[in-house]
Structure formats: structure tokens, C-alpha cells
Amino acid sequence: MSKENGNDGNAPKAVDRDPAGAEARGSDFSPRLSFGVPDFLLIIVLVMAGLIPFVFGTLRATKESDFEKVAILTVAGQEVWRCPVGNGSEPSEFTYSSQEGILIVRADKSGAWVAHSDCPDQICVRTGKISRAGQISVCIPFRAVLRIEATNPISDAWIHPDGIDAVSE
């Protein structure tokens, strides 16, 4: 809108647009912005409230992205455990129990693996430690999938920075 149309805050026409508000404030009929302390407090509170999702999301992302990868265990498609993998990550163990028995997965800074499974074929245990993004270790009887996912671009020169999308095996 151009100034010729009276968008100047001191222009008389602007007074006519909000006579009730101006009267209520008991001021002259100017539409000047006036912030009181309560206004500032309200803004600060609401801004902080609005940022909560970002703050929590960023904190979580920062925590995982401190490491190159994350190990994720899903059972029947549902995530039941996740653990950062990489330099500085703490060793971790998780035990899943079902009618099939017990499945134990472990992770350390170098990867993750199925340490024990009550399944008959032991293919998941034989798979051993998986360490590269995109790798999986599957236990069919438990319907469990242990997966390594990248949280940062892959650093190996011969692997594309996007990482691995699947493993043919």
C-alpha cells in the first residue's frame, strides 16, 4: 500500500479506522503501538512455548548426531530399542522376551549384534556384528530386525554420502 493512501501512522484517516480502540485507551486518536510489561511477558511466554517442539527435537537430534550411526531394533515393525553407535557411545544391552523365548541385542561403539536368541536356526546370531549403515540382522522366529542407520553422511570414500539403501545378501 502506498503512502498516498494514508498508511502513515499520523494520518487523520487512520484514526477513523479504530475509533473505539483509541477511545478505550483514553489517548489521543493515534494508532501508535504501545507495549506494556504484560505484553512483553506474554510474548516471551508464548514464544518459548512455540519453540518447545523445536528445542526438544533439536536436543534429540543433537544427541544422536553426535554419533555417526544408530542401532534400532524393531519387533513386528514396532521399534522397541535404539542406541547410538560410534566413537564415544556407551555399550548397551537390551533383552526382549516373547513366547519364542529371549532375544538379547548389544551395541558398542563399533556396531550392534544379536548376542543371544532362543530361535532354532541361529541365523541372527551367526550374522554377528553389523556396523555399516543399511545393514540388518534378522531373526525370523522373533520377527525382529536389528538395523544400523546413518545419522550423519557416510565417511567412507567408496560409499556414497547418502549411505546404503539396501544390502543384497
Binding site: L33, D121, K129, R143, V145, W158, D162, V167, S168
Partner: protein, 342 residues
Amino acid sequence: MAAIVVVAFFLFFPASCSGLKKETDATEAKEEIFAMNTYMRIEVRGREAKEAVNAGVKEIYRLENLLSRSIPESEIFAVNSAAGEEYTTVSAETFQVISISLLYSEMTDGCFDVTVAPLMDLWGFSSGDYRVPNPSEIDDVMSSVGYEMVRIEEDSGRVMLEKKGMSMDLGAVTKGYAGDRVLAVIQQYDIESALINLGGNVTVFGKKKTGAPYHVAIADPENRGEYLGVLAAENQSIVTSGGYERFFESDGKVYIHIMDPETGRPAETDLLSVSVIDADGIKCDILSTALFVMGKDAAIGFWRENPDFGMILSDSSGTLFVSQNIKEEFSVADGKSVVYFE
């Protein structure tokens, strides 16, 4: 007034951001299932991604019910049940899968054979009760093994196994065929790209969101934590066969699950794994098994006679043998020695 504007901005800004994210997510869908005795994952990107994934999953279950050897309602179960007695009329689709299998059996001089099921049973690979049978047991069962004893009648769509005791197992075919079928089904929807991983049989369609091709790693048979290399793939299937996953040990000897139809024993070759790359998934599935049974020299000889697909061999010395036609797309892992052949 200004306060209201400021407040409204901060209140609605996060909401509008999450709204955008939802819109993006709506164009990507994935589903994980356990079927055909393995783990499967379908990922699709596109406007009708969700519908496509659902249809793909449905197709997998349909094929399992059609081609499984162990499901009593399947057509293969019916053919096996009538072995040595009578013909069974099967659907055009089952007939086609059997016909293609027999074609490749001839083409590979029997290194691939869908009638090895009695051997799989004998060695305990079907049940998990592994054992080393004695030679006379193997000889007995071998009389019921041989693709030449599968009779097919194209006009009537009938199939029969000549001898009682014969049994067909399409386990080395079905996942490859399923990859082709799932791709065909999901392409009926408005999609841009897809990644279909059926127990390590990988089929990709299109490019990723970034515009890059899909990157499919080939598992290292000697160290499951590592890869042999990574293939940049687009509109291809990649299937790998090896004895490193399903095997058992007895008296210090390893027996793998891939049978040599000629000896009746688990295949003993100089190869650790074979990967086949082609647009035809069923071809990849069959050839990866057949070429593994053949061994390195015969596999390379086969490729030279039929150089229309990509091949990666890993031999027992740790060397990779890669067909020249995929040299550009295949990045070999650091430290691996590689020989390109043509």
C-alpha cells in the same frame, strides 16, 4: 495489535512447519513384513505411495499362497501331492514360473533344479533338523531328483512330476519373481521411485528423492559387518546367493543350504557368493544360485556366452571378479582385490 500479530506468528509458525512435513511424508510410504520365510521391506515414493505399498504387500501374500511348497492350498503343493500319479492343472502364472525355471535348468546344464526339494528334506534344511545322510540315502533320493522328470503340457496348462517321491521347491525362484510382480503392481500407481527388498533380493525403480540412484551394497560373505562394494542401481534387481547364511557344521565340516543337483550334496565350489544384476528379477534369482553351483570358471564362461547381465563373484581367496559391464556402477570396497572380466 502488534502483540497479537507477533504472538500469532509464533503460534502458527511451528504449526505450519509441521503441516508441510506431513505433506512431504504423505508421498513416502514403507511397509515391513515377514513372508516367504524371510523379512521383506517395500519403500515407495510418489503421490500414491501408500496405496502402492499396500498393493505390493498384498501381491507378496498372494504369490506365497500360490507358489509355496508348504501351504496345502498352494498349486505347488497340489503338484507335489500328485507326483507319480497324475497331472495337475495349474494357473497360467504358476505354469509360467515352472516353465521359466525349467528353461534355466536346461540353460545351466542342471546346475539349477527345482526338484531338489527331497534333498533339502534329507539334509534337514527344510525342517532345521540338520544331519549328514549316508551315501545310500543320498543315492535313493537322487532317483527322485531331475528337472527332466517334470512334465508340462502347455496347451492344457498341466504339470506332473513323473515319479512318486518327487517334489518341487520354487524357493530359489519365488522371491525373484515376487520382486518383478511387486514392481509391476506398484507401477500401476502414481509413484516416482521404489525400493523392494525381499529377503536380500533387491529391486529398485527410479531414483531417490535427491536425484541419486539407489545404493545397494553387496554383503561380504567372510565378514558380515562389511561389504564387498556398493552398486549404484536404477531400474534393476540385484540378487546374491551364497552359503554363508544358512549352513550347519558336522565333524568340523560346513554344509551349506545350496544343493548341487548332480551330487546330491551341498554345493562345494570355489565361490563364496554370486551376485547377479539385471532388470529381470526371476533371472537374477535363478542365475545367482546356478552360477554359484557352477563355480568361478564355469560362471565366467557362462557370462561370456550370455553377457547381457551384470555379475559379481567372490571367491575363496577373497578376490572379486566383476563383469566389465557394471564396472562404472560398482564401487569396490577399500582393500578388496578385484579382477574385471569381459
